[in-house]
Every structure is written in structure tokens, then in C-alpha cells.
């Protein structure tokens, strides 16, 4: 799950990035609106968190640019402006959610989960494919009754596959969503992590869930 954070207060920016990263999200952060627009033009984000009062281009400007360029990624305004008028303006301008400062990380995390659920059109925080289940709140993965321990990246990759179950995902797309710009590596990182996942998920089972679609990418689905 890849998140873009635009927040001009440096300390706040750093701590949110650190927290979201430790929660297993892949975060790109920037300090003003025009940087945010640059990021948005080069990568595909699952959630965008915007401060409203930012230098150069404010949050509304970034959102406007996004919607004008057909980017429908869910946007959460994170702002100290708390008047009803500001909230209404924020939501009316096309934001999906609005969180006022100071906020708690728990609430921010919950709202991010809500936005991803909406984006992938699922109703609960529990993802299921066959007898494989993934709890997006506690970050636990089970195959049948057996709990499987995954690294953060493995978890992210599995979550992304499960959110798009039955859909073939190219290596580039997977890389885009799981690794941020700080990562500098070849495309075979996806293959490496897929092989790790396969070992842990499908290793001891007869029904393989993770499938390779030759020449196109990977997908997760139950056997028909």
C-alpha cells in the first residue's frame, strides 16, 4: 500500500512517515504542494494525505490538480483548520476524509484503512482468499488455523495481491505500490519477494494460491 504524505511542518512530517512506515505502509513524503504534484505524476498512490496550508501550492490546489488529471486516489486532508466551513470546503472540493490536528495515530490508521477498503471495494478489514485470511488491523495472516509470520514487505505484497484478487498484477505495478522512491533496485525484487511469500503461504499446501501468469505478472486466487 503506497501513501503520499505532503506536510510542511518538518517534525510532524517525519514522525508520520516513521509511524506509517512502521505500520507497513510504503510512504513518500514531501514538504510542499508542488513537490506533491510531482510525486503524484510519477507514481500511483493508494492514499494521499495532504496538509491544507502548504507553501507554493496548498492542499486544495493539489487536490484540484489530481482530480483534473483524472487521479481518483482517495485523499485525506490533515489540517489544523477545524471550522465547519473549512471541513465542508475540504470535503466538497473532492477530499474523501478530513482529520484535524492534533490527531491520534490510531484514528489516522483507521481512516487510511477505511479509504483503502473503499478503493478496493471491500466491506471489512478481513481479506480472504480460500482458507487464507489477512487481518488488516492486527496485521495477522492465517492459512486455515495456522498463523503465518511475514516481514513487513511480504505482508504488504500479500495484502496488495489479496486486495486485487483474481486480477493479474504486473511486476512494475507491484513495485510501484510496495516500494517507494527511496528503493533503488531492479525489478527482480518483486520476483524475490513473491518466492518468499510462496514458501510461507503455499509451501506446505496442496492448493496453490499465488499464480504466475507468464509474460504478465502475478495474481492470487482460489483454484477454480
Amino acid at each position: 500500500m503506497r501513501i503520499l504524505l505532503a506536510e510542511d511542518e518538518a517534525d510532524l512530517n517525519k514522525i508520520i512517515t516513521r509511524k506509517l512506515t512502521s505500520d507497513g505502509y510504503c510512504v513518500d513524503s514531501c514538504y510542499n504542494g508542488s513537490e506533491a504534484i510531482d510525486f503524484l505524476e510519477t507514481a500511483d498512490y493508494d492514499v494521499v494525505i495532504l496538509d491544507i496550508m502548504m507553501p507554493e501550492v496548498d492542499g486544495f490546489g493539489v487536490l484540484h490538480h489530481m482530480r483534473n488529471t483524472g487521479n481518483s486516489a482517495p485523499v485525506l486532508f490533515l489540517t489544523a483548520k477545524d471550522s465547519i466551513a473549512d471541513r465542508v470546503k475540504g470535503l466538497d472540493s473532492g477530499a474523501d476524509d478530513y482529520l484535524t490536528k492534533p490527531f491520534s495515530f490510531e484514528e489516522l490508521a483507521a481512516r487510511i484503512r477505511v479509504m483503502t477498503r473503499k478503493r478496493f471495494d471491500i466491506a471489512a478489514n478481513m481479506l480472504e482468499v480460500g482458507d487464507l485470511t489477512l487481518d488488516t488491523v492486527s496485521h495477522t495472516v492465517k492459512r486455515g488455523e495456522k498463523e503465518i509470520t511475514l516481514s513487513t514487505k511480504e505482508y504488504n505484497l500479500l495484502e496488495y495481491l489479496m486486495l486485487n484478487r483474481g486480477i493479474v498484477l504486473s511486476r512494475e505495478k507491484i513495485e510501484d505500490h510496495i516500494w517507494n522512491f527511496e528503493y533503488e533496485g531492479g525489478t527482480n525484487v518483486v520476483d524475490v519477494y513473491i518466492s518468499y511469500l510462496r514458501k510461507k503461504i503455499d509451501g506446505n499446501c496442496q492448493d496453490k494460491l499465488i499464480h504466475t501468469v507468464r509474460g504478465r505478472g502475478y495474481m492470487i486466487k482460489e483454484k477454480p
Binding site: 510542511d8 510532524l12 514522525i15 507554493e56 490527531f103
Partner: protein, 465 residues
């Protein structure tokens, strides 16, 4: 009376006054014309009787010639009383008649005769008598002369004689005056209503404002120059000013809360993160440093906001005294020159012995703010020069060779919480220049800025002595 509307009160008041004036006028007119009429009646009564006195003579013989011409002869004692044909028996309701001393009627007639009324004679006096609810004037003359001594000539006239016009006037007044009064009352009520309508409009607007707390409403009476239009204009202007003041206040509160929330959210987020798991001591230290930095920011912000609020509301917080401004500026310059941030050189040129009536703490703050601004927006290895001189007023200028201010921002830099974008990462609160302006104003001074983008800015504070 208290519960009546002004409209009703005004109408009632002028209707009452008008009714009173009409009644008094009517009474006076009636009384005057009545007495004039009565006087006229009496005068013509006397005149006729007096003229008739000469028309009665006594003769022993009739003069047939005269009798033919219309003179009357009445046998009296041993001769005749000759009533000349000029004798006026009855003119304009005035009856004349001739009596013997005993009261026996010799000639003529009058209402008392017809009524069989006996009125005693009295020579040359107009008497009032009332008979059958009708008043009469009676005027008697005792005749004297050959053969007519002891005869009485009596004139009598009804007091209503010739008063028909007056009665007609009364009748007309009884109908017309109340009608006019009614018309005046209705018209007055209408005009009062029209005149007071703007007040209703004012009341409605005021009520809407107080109900909805919505200062966007205006009275808008339209064009007009009367007192109520003036009042409405004045009120509209007042609401405008209030509206602006409230909006500024709201803006300030909103900005202040924004500025306070940001460091607060950093502190909260840091705490939440660090307490979530066991962390290394380096992490704890880093977190505490961030919290300290943000705490300082908040504390500075609160201090600045309090200062601005006090400057605005409570003038007693900052007592004035004679301040040695030259020494004050010099001390600050010497202190701040030690900062050497960005390797900026601080230079000053201060005329000694300049005194100013003011608050030393505020003035220190003002000068400090201006110089720190110079540091903040100054270039690496730049310079800041401070000049203080006194000719035609005290003049303090702080000039830097930093980034400068674009023209369109020159008015806004003195606004509260305005910060040039480049400064948003810095330690400033956005209140520095607003405070400088407020402090200058507190000392009846003004502040100006000259600036060229890329070349630097010069702030000049002027105090009149």
C-alpha cells in the same frame, strides 16, 4: 400609554391637540360673532325706538291731509295722537308699540302683548326678558312733550333675530369639523406609519442579525436624506465595521488555533509514537528534542499573542516612562551582533541622547523583532544596518540586504500570522511584524517599508515628539 406604538401615540397626540384647537377656535368664533350679533340687535332696537320717538305728536285736531298720506290718528284724551307714517311698527323683527303710563296699549303690537306678558317700564335701558324659552330685548322710552307726557314707547325684539346665519354656521361646524378631524387623524396615522416604516425595517434587520448572528445583513433603506435614512446609513456603516472587526477576529482566532495546533500535533504524535514500543535511548532523546523545540515554539507564540492582545485591550499593562531610546537600541545591537547567524554583520549608527516616552519592554521587543527579521530574511554573509536619528521626529531604520519583499506582499507582511513562504520552516511565529506595527502604534508612531526583491528591505519606524 407605554404599550402603545409610537405611531398611535403621535396620531393620538396631534389629534387631541387638533381637536382642542378646533374646539377653542370654534368656541371663540361663536362667542365673538354671537356677541357682535347681540350688540347689533340691541343697537338697531335702540335706534329704531329713538327714531320712532320723534314720530309721535299730540294734536287737538286731525289733519285729514296727513291722514290720507298714511299718518295714523288715535283718539287720546281730548285730542289725537298723531303717529307719523315714518313710524316703524315692525322692522327686522323689531316691534314698536305705544303705551299709556298705566300700561294700556295704545298703538302697535309686540310678542309680549300677544302673550299677555307684563313688563315694567324703565326709561332708556335695554332689558332682557325670557318668555316661553325665547329671550327678548326690551327698550322703553318715556315720551315728553306737549300732550304726550307719560306715554311710553316700547321696542321689543327677539334675541334670536338675525342669528340664523350663526346657527347655520354652528350646524355646519358640528358636521364638518369632526369630519375634518377624522380625515386628519386617518391621514396623520397613515403618514406617521409611512414615516416610521424605516424604523420597522431597522428593527427587523437588527432582529435578524441578533437571531442569526449573521452580520452580512444590512438595512438598505435606499436613497433618501431624512433623519431615518441618515440613521439607517449610520447603522449600516456601524454593522459594516463590526462585521469587518468580527471577521478579523475570527480570522485571528482561526489562525491562532492553526498555529497552536501544529506544534501540538507534533508533540502528541511524537509521544504516541515513542510510547507505543520500547525504544532506544537515542530515539527517546531525539523525540524529547523535537518536543522541546515545538514546546518553545508554542510558548513563543502564546507570549506574542498575549502581547498583541494586551496591546489591544489593556493599555495599563504597559506603563509609559521616559526611555533612553539611544542606549536601548545600542544595547540590543550589541547583544544581537553576537548572534552572527548566516555570518551576517550588524552595523549601527546611533545618535546619542534620544529620549522617548514609552514602554522600555515593548520598545526592546520592537527593535529585537526588526533585527531578527533582518537575520531571518538576510543573505549568507550579508549585513544589517541600524540607524537612529532625531530630526523632525525620532526615526529608526533597520536595513538588510536580504531577499526583499515583492510589492504585492508589502501590505500583508504586517498582518498577523503572515509569513513569507521561505520563512515557514524557521522559528518565526508570523506575529513579529504585526507586533512591531502594534507597538509603533502604541507609541503613536508609524512604520514603513522600502524593499526591492533580491536587494533587501528597509523598515523605518517614525515617532513624532
Amino acid at each position: 400609554m407605554k404599550n402603545l406604538s409610537i405611531r398611535v401615540k403621535i396620531t393620538a397626540w396631534f389629534s387631541g391637540i387638533m381637536a382642542f384647537i378646533v374646539a377653542v377656535t370654534f368656541a371663540v368664533i361663536f362667542w365673538v360673532s354671537n356677541s357682535v350679533t347681540q350688540k347689533n340687535i340691541q343697537d338697531s332696537l335702540i335706534e329704531i325706538v329713538e327714531s320712532n320717538v320723534d314720530e309721535i305728536e299730540f294734536y287737538e285736531e286731525k289733519n285729514y291731509q296727513k291722514e290720507l298720506h298714511g299718518d295714523q290718528y288715535i283718539e287720546y284724551l281730548d285730542g289725537y295722537l298723531e303717529i307719523d307714517d315714518d313710524f316703524l311698527d315692525q322692522v327686522n323683527g323689531i316691534y314698536s308699540s305705544l303705551y299709556q303710563e298705566t300700561g294700556k296699549l295704545l298703538y302697535g303690537e309686540n310678542p309680549s302683548v300677544r302673550a299677555g306678558m307684563e313688563i315694567p317700564f324703565s326709561d332708556g335701558i335695554v332689558k332682557k326678558v325670557t318668555w316661553n324659552r325665547t329671550g327678548y330685548y326690551v327698550y322703553d322710552r318715556l315720551l315728553s312733550g306737549y300732550g304726550i307726557d307719560g306715554l311710553w314707547l316700547r321696542g321689543m325684539v327677539s334675541r334670536n333675530q338675525g342669528t340664523q346665519q350663526l346657527q347655520w354656521l354652528v350646524r355646519l361646524s358640528v358636521i364638518a369639523l369632526p369630519a375634518l378631524l377624522l380625515l386628519a387623524v386617518i391621514g396623520g396615522y397613515w403618514i406617521a406609519g409611512r414615516a416610521l416604516k424605516p424604523i420597522q425595517q431597522i428593527t427587523q434587520t437588527a432582529a435578524r442579525i441578533s437571531q442569526g448572528q449573521d452580520l452580512d445583513k444590512r438595512i438598505h433603506l435606499g436613497s433618501g436624506t431624512d433623519e431615518l435614512h441618515q440613521l439607517a446609513d449610520v447603522l449600516d456603516n456601524m454593522i459594516n465595521r463590526l462585521d469587518k472587526a468580527f471577521k478579523l477576529e475570527q480570522q485571528f482566532t482561526s489562525d491562532a488555533s492553526h498555529e497552536l495546533r501544529t506544534p501540538m500535533s507534533v508533540i502528541m504524535a511524537q509521544c504516541e509514537y515513542i510510547l507505543e514500543n520500547t525504544r532506544t535511548s537515542e530515539e527517546y532523546e531525539a523525540t524529547l528534542k523535537v518536543i522541546q523545540r515545538q514546546g518553545r515554539k508554542m510558548s513563543k507564540l502564546i507570549e506574542d499573542m498575549l502581547c498583541i492582545a494586551r496591546l489591544e485591550q489593556n493599555k495599563d499593562s504597559y506603563p509609559r516612562e521616559m526611555v533612553d531610546f539611544s542606549t536601548l537600541v545600542q544595547d540590543i545591537c550589541m547583544d544581537m551582533a553576537l548572534l552572527k547567524s548566516k555570518n551576517i554583520v550588524l552595523g549601527w549608527e546611533i545618535e546619542p541622547g534620544i529620549f522617548l516616552m514609552g514602554n522600555a519592554m515593548l520598545l526592546t521587543r520592537m527593535v529585537t523583532n526588526l533585527i531578527s527579521n533582518g537575520y531571518r530574511y538576510g543573505k549568507q554573509d550579508g549585513r544589517i544596518s541600524i540607524r537612529l536619528k532625531c530630526d523632525n521626529g525620532i526615526q529608526l531604520s533597520v536595513e538588510d540586504n536580504g531577499i526583499g519583499i515583492p510589492d504585492e506582499q508589502k501590505d500583508r507582511i504586517f498582518g498577523r500570522f503572515y509569513q513569507a513562504e521561505a520563512a515557514r520552516f524557521s522559528e518565526g511565529t508570523g506575529l513579529g511584524l504585526a507586533m512591531v506595527r502594534d507597538i509603533a502604534k502604541y507609541h503613536r508612531g508609524t512604520i514603513e517599508v522600502d524593499s526591492v526583491v533580491g536587494k533587501g528591505s528597509k523598515f523605518t519606524v517614525k515617532f513624532s515628539i
